[in-house]
């Protein structure tokens, strides 16, 4: 089994106008989906993300960050185990947020560091 991150992408501007309670009440219930993934041994972890944070570059730290305007900004993630990327996609397709058109899922294989030489 390989690890994948299923990134949730949705309209951050829209969510930003809601209180946290309203935000989660608006979306479909994710509990059964997570539970069934856990039962099948595919679930590792994940959570929603707050809309605002800090955006850190070499020279500055921006409050809230520019991402609040994003139409398909990152609003959460899950880490799962799957046989291959096709199965990971099939799992993402079964996510209630995807099935209801509430959000988009980006499926990314977790890439281990390879052949890192010791730095001197």
């Amino acid at each position: 089994m390989e690890r994948f991150m299923l990134i949730v992408r949705e309209d951050l501007k829209r969510i930003g106008q809601l209180s946290p309670e309203e935000r989660f009440a608006a979306g479909p219930d994710m509990g059964d989906w997570v539970k069934s993934l856990a039962e099948s041994g595919n679930y590792i972890g994940g959570e929603p993300l707050a809309i605002t944070g800090r955006y850190v570059t070499q020279n500055e730290v921006l409050s809230d960050g520019p991402f609040i305007e994003a139409k398909e900004g990152i609003s959460g993630y899950d880490i799962i185990l799957a046989e291959n990327i096709n199965q990971a996609v099939a799992i993402a397709q079964s996510c209630p947020m995807v099935m209801t058109g509430f959000a988009i899922r980006e499926v990314r294989p977790m890439q281990p560091f390879l052949n890192i030489q010791e730095k001197k």
Partner: protein
């Protein structure tokens, strides 16, 4: 009901899925929907023909022959005829068709359902449909889904099956080996769906558990299985042994602590022990660990005599290979009963921070129960009320209400 109808019903119940499976295997280009239609059609013909000419001696063989002929006709009509004759005559004549022959088809079909590109849920749904031969409404009830939801999954699965010939192509020997772990998972999940206490009629759930055991047994007998198959078998036997004690005569839920242990089936426990013993292996799977935990429960003559320390250690090990918050909850429960109460509460409090687990009835139920045992009735009531509101199942609500009443 007349004899003809009775015999047709019996045959339908036992053979519908097998007939569909065998058609899919004999005619590789066919899709599952057409195969189902043809089998359905053959049963209609049987009702008419048997009433006119009497019931044949080998009814299963009769139906199979009709299915095959109907398929050949359909294929000719559809101009799909590609090297069919060769397939059509192989091992499918009336005389050598017996109740047992198709069990191999069933196993092959199970490996086909274990396609690594399908999600685990869809793998289970198509296994229940095509291998275990359940109707859509039964699948919906067992999985706690709506009929519409199951249909939608099946439509999507059928499309994929059609596009990629998932059921139609027998996986080659190498693929069989690599699919074994998915097959284990399907059997394990199917068993659990039957075993879970919350929904479905009890008879139906027990039958599903039996089907899962039978599938696993044929896997063991086929020599395709390995040590994990044996450990999974032990696990399912230990759990089956406790099946009857989980409900009172009036259908109320009974937790492990209050089960009448004299109702546990000793024969199944001993059989489980046998399989656990022969499953010994250098590579320990999650099935080995779960079977070992179930074995300890089965061996305890009273709840208070359970070896919780070993169970906690086994959960700890399970977490290393299967890191997920639901296993952590079980670990916390074992820690509490093993006497490590601080660690248990720390872990439970930590799990409350988890965005999904704090929505989960059994976390709040455990917190409520342990606070109750510690004599903290205020937090106990708090958590039990949360738990009460988190379950939609009446049996669970009744169970929690009783705990609240006792406070």
């Amino acid at each position: 009901m007349d004899n003809v109808q009775q015999e047709a019903d019996r045959l339908y119940k036992q053979h519908f899925g097998k007939l569909v499976a065998s058609l899919l295997y004999t005619f590789r280009t066919m899709d599952p929907e057409s195969a189902e239609d043809i089998v359905q059609d053959a049963f209609s013909s049987a009702l008419v023909d048997w009433r006119l000419k009497g019931i044949p001696t080998n009814t299963a063989g009769w139906i199979y022959t009709v299915c095959r002929n109907k398929t050949l006709n359909k294929l000719k009509k559809d101009k799909w005829v590609t090297a069919i004759a060769d397939h059509a005559d192989r091992g499918s004549t009336e005389t050598n068709y017996s109740d047992s022959v198709l069990d191999d088809y069933q196993l092959k079909l199970l490996f086909a359902c274990a396609h690594p590109d399908l999600s685990p849920k869809i793998q289970v749904v198509i296994t229940l449909k095509y291998v275990i031969n359940l109707k859509v409404d039964a699948i919906a009830r067992l999985l706690g889904m709506t009929i519409d939801g199951v249909d939608k999954l099946l439509v999507r699965a059928r499309q994929k099956i059609k596009d990629e010939k998932i059921i139609l192509e027998e996986p080659h020997p190498e693929a069989l080996k690599s699919r074994l772990s998915i097959v284990h998972k399907i059997i394990y999940l199917s068993f659990n769906e039957g075993y879970k206490s919350s929904w479905g009629k009890e008879m139906m759930r027990q039958e599903l558990c039996e089907e899962a055991l039978l599938l696993n047994k044929s896997l063991i007998d086929s020599r395709l299985g390995n040590k994990d198959t044996l450990a999974l078998h032990a696990l399912m036997l230990f759990n089956s042994a406790r099946f009857a004690s989980r409900f009172t005569a009036s259908g109320e839920l009974v937790d492990l602590e209050n089960q009448d242990r004299s109702l546990w089936n000793r024969d199944l426990i001993n059989l489980g022990r046998h399989f656990l013993a022969i499953s010994e292996s250098e590579i320990i799977s999650s099935y080995h660990l779960e079977a070992a935990i179930a074995h300890i429960h089965c061996g305890a003559s009273q709840f208070v005599l359970t070896d919780w320390k070993t169970i906690a250690a086994l959960y700890d090990r399970l977490l290393k290979s299967n890191p997920n918050p639901f296993v952590e909850l079980n670990y916390a429960i074992a820690l509490y009963y093993a006497g490590d109460k601080n660690a248990a509460f720390n872990l439970l409090n930590e799990l409350q921070q988890h965005s999904f687990l704090n929505q989960y009835v059994f976390l709040n139920l455990a917190l409520g129960k342990f606070h109750q045992l510690e004599g903290n009735s205020e937090p106990a009531a708090h958590f039990l009320h949360i738990a009460f509101n988190q379950t939609h199942f009446n049996k669970e609500k009744d169970f929690i209400q009783k705990m609240i009443d006792k406070l």
